[in-house]
């Protein structure tokens, strides 16, 4: 386990402390902001939504700084906060889908838009990631993009390592399927070559 949550309650006065966090804590937070933004972008999709998510995570981290245990991985702790807030937001919006329930109807629903995006390979991959169920998307971002080990990702997502493995495999195969179905990088490359 890469980090542990402190189980004890907040120390007296923590909630209303005048100094919201030490400079060192904020320094750690700033240092990890670029990766938090990337992780949030993978979860939320839209840049503005992702930054809102990161901002909310910063505020929550500062409010609960006492829960972080020195010597453990700060980035994993922050990833978990981001993920938790995002899941809460999804539940609030009632748009969270069951694991494996892919929004197939969104694939190729707008041919004109798809043709434009087919020329933007990176945007297309990001769009394909957004089609994954939230659980798979989270694991894909944590392991494949952020480079966490399966154990570390299991702690962040609060699931067994075996679940990480299965979700990741499904995410990778589904992603490949989406890219193929949507025209994918391959077709984009062919078009470019033809032109």
């Amino acid at each position: 386990m890469s980090f542990r949550w402190k189980r004890e309650e907040a120390p007296a006065g923590a909630a209303e402390r005048a100094d919201p966090a030490s400079a060192g804590f904020s320094d750690q937070l700033i240092a990890v902001l670029p990766r938090l933004r990337r992780f949030a972008r993978g979860l939320a999709g839209a840049p503005a939504d992702a930054d809102d998510l990161v901002q909310a995570a910063c505020e929550r981290a500062l409010a609960r700084a006492y829960q972080f245990e020195e010597g453990t991985r700060f980035d994993s702790w922050m990833f978990r906060i981001v993920q938790t807030i995002w899941i809460d937001q999804l539940r609030a919006r009632e748009v969270r889908k069951e694991d494996g329930d892919v929004a197939e109807e969104r694939l190729g629903s707008d041919a004109a838009v798809r043709r434009i995006e087919a020329r933007l390979a990176l945007a297309e991959v990001r769009q394909a990631v957004q089609l994954l169920p939230p659980d798979q998307r989270t694991v894909l971002m944590l392991v494949t993009v952020e480079g966490l080990s399966y154990k570390e990702a299991a702690v962040v997502a609060d699931v067994p390592v075996g679940t990480i493995m299965s979700r990741l495999a499904r995410a990778r195969t589904a992603l490949q399927r989406h890219l193929d179905a949507g025209g994918g990088i391959r077709r984009s490359g062919n078009n470019a070559a033809a032109q």
């Binding site: 904020s26 700033i30 240092a31 902001l33 990631v129 399966y150 493995m165």
Partner: protein, 292 residues
Amino acid sequence: MQRHSDEALVAYLDGELDADERRHVEAWLEADPAVRDRLTALAQSGDLVRGAYADIVAEPVPARLIAAARGVSESAPGAPQEAEILVLKRPGWAALPLRNRRWQIGLAAAAGLFGVIFGGAGTYLGMSMLNPANPALEHRLAALAANNTWLDNAAGYYKLSVSAGDTMLIDVPASNDPQEALQKISQSLPQQVRVPDLKPWGLTFRGARLVVVEGRPAAELVYVTDNKAIGPLTLVIGASKQPDIPPTFDRRQDVNLLYWRHHERAYALVGQTDIGYLWGIANDIAWQLDAI
């Protein structure tokens, strides 16, 4: 079972299998070309995802997120002043000790490196539009010339710092009492100077040097790091009579500059690192110094 197969292949790619499991998968790959194709496809999808999100970490971090990380609303009044504040006095220019005239040598060397270059627009204005009867144009040209000159100088000073390496001459070493030392050297500077804390970016403040901005003395704050991909950075802060401008990117040879003016101060963040990284740091500096 396909699902089990995919799990094993993905875990193999991720280096998450133990030795026995790895041998098992490798034997499987050896025996079945279709599995090898499957592995290649999965590896490709992983590369695509990593590539699709690779650039985001180089994007400038919005100031509101830096403010949030510091526990202060971006628009909240009374933001904490963590940066050191120096109240500077300005004695007669000739009163500078000889030791502190090192910037003059540096300026000459900087000019040798870069020359006093006017950009294409400036050249156009200078050659075809400069007209004594048109004060507005003269003013624009003067502003443009000053802008180019001080950016040339900022880049030149930076190059001098880089080439000097560990032998770089620092007027105010960070290891000494910064308050006392900075006050001593900055007596020639006409404005307050704060020293932003850039430790979150992996940068250590090494010290300050005295330089020139728009013909007036200014501070060049030198930050160093062990990360050669980032390299040293300098932040030039000086007084300015020019109007405010938003952060603007410019380049001198292999040196990137991000400069802006705010409330009669000119700032230039100089380095050879990625522009996105500079943007992120500039946002943090602006927040710390309330420069924008």
